[in-house]
Amino acid sequence: MTIAQDALQLPHLNYGALAPMLILFGAAAVGVLIEAFVPRRSRYALQLVLGLGALVAALIVVITESGTRELTAGAAIALDGPALFLQGSLAALGIVALLLIAERTLEPGGPFVAAAAVTAGTEEDRTQAAREDAGTEVYPLLLFALGGMMLFVSANDLLTMFVALEVFSLPLYLMCGLARRRRLLSQESAMKYFLLGSFASAFFLFGIAMLYGFSGQISFAGIHSAIQTSTQSTTLLYIGLALVALGLLFKAAAAPFHVWIPDVYQGAPTPITAFMSACTKVAAFGALIRVLYVAFQGTDWDFRPVIGAIAVLTMLVGSILSVTQTDIKRLLAYSSIANAGYILVGVLGLSKDGLSSTLFYLVTYGFTVIAAFGVVTLVRDADGEATHLSRWAGLGRRSPLYAGLFTFLMLAFAGIPLTSGFTGKFAVFAAAIGGGQSWLVVFGVVSSMILAFPYLRVVVMMWLSEPGESTPTVSIPGALTSATLAIGGLATLVLGVVPAPLLDLTNHAAQFIR
């Protein structure tokens, strides 16, 4: 067989616009080489500098490229307003999460296991938990995950999107299993996340096959034009849309695909939980809006009621189940499910406002949730973090500063004015009303009212109870965690008081290209 020598057209690559992803993947590969060749004691500093440097560089490149609106790499990657905005958000949230991950003063050696292959619960394991410095594989894994997420939000065809999904999912599965303490819980969470995530990926892939069967295309533009012009039965189209949406909603933590969230959020090391709850949400919703707005534009009469029902279910499941939680990490997990519902409400505005409010909400929620998990890492006793809610009673007396910060973050989650939680919710609900989806907003408000109860219960417990014998201490955070808390708290406040600049930015960015 001969291959036509001149038929092969090389795709045009806009290296400048692809640079953020190339920087992160390159830095991650260098990070793996550091793990291989640099002596153990020097690795931490090198990895931290490399990770921070790569993320800052990626953020700067995204900002300088912010005017780019083009399809590149043979139309496999779309660098348009939403993609660049989400890439910038991922880099910024990634920097904050990295600071939390790199904290080593709260616990000798840091929150990660030194040698993950040592059997949990053995004498050797206790020795390494007490003495040895944490392994540093988590830094390259973080960079791989962030690079994959950036590709995920800018993928312009289904196969690129699937590859990106795997690129960011596989490091996340690993990172969940790296906790220094309560290792069986951590490994269980990694296993559960891996198994359920694999099923979700398989559904996603099957959906791609169905959509290809319908349209003969994998690019979003191709699917869109096939929807407009095709005369064949739409059965394959709707099966494909349902399966692809299932895969994305699983990552976004929407009910009924949410069951992995509480276990994984609880078992994973808290800095990783913070990273997942902020960045995975940005990535998953970034991909979901692109699929719905670019590929399936014009079929909204068909998918809107279904995804609307999922949004309602998500808000109600998240808010009602968070009332019964007794563990702070599980409470924040259910609250993250409810927040996925609010973001879905914004997505279903299906307008420019819907898009820009979704982008806005993702950023505000990300900063607040990272800071909230940052406070969780501070409340500790001899066995590590004390996450049971009863242990948080009277914490306001022990440490007014951090209890005050946590109170502020809880009020932001509850949507009190002058916090970013309020402006974010206002934006998504207004977009949904603008799109004629008032019924979603009714459920959204009801769910917010239910959700205020568990948040305020934590606040009341912290301030109005006397500290008991079992009240743990609040550790003094090192510089890195302090920076995380300061950035997260400030972002929550500033985006609540003066949201206009970011809203302008999201409005400006809210235009897909096809």
Binding site: Q5, L8, V32, E35, A117
Partner: protein, 122 residues
Amino acid sequence: MNLGQWVPIVGLVVLGALFALFSVAIAPVVGPNRPNRAKLSAYECGIEPTPEPVGSGRRFPVKFYLTAMLFIVFDIEIIFLYPWAVSFNALGTFGFVEMLLFIATAFVAYAYVWRRGGLDWD
């Protein structure tokens, strides 16, 4: 639609199934039966069979997993190398540089495994 053209394929499937059933059924009847230990053991490509862990609580050494993972790294590398080699001229310098980069990244994984002791069996 004319299904008649598929009849030979169905016939072939039926024939294949009949032949397999016939072979299995006839072998113990006509063949001599002289078992020994080597013949009865599980077939593992001519290697002495490794005893399997039985029951719960016994573990496979993680080394098998490492070896399998490393195999997959090179397996995937080969899958990309063949089509590249076939269309080398058409892809030109761009394809050559891309392939070098790809091999370099695969080598990063290999270097990590090698330096961290993944290749030492004991």
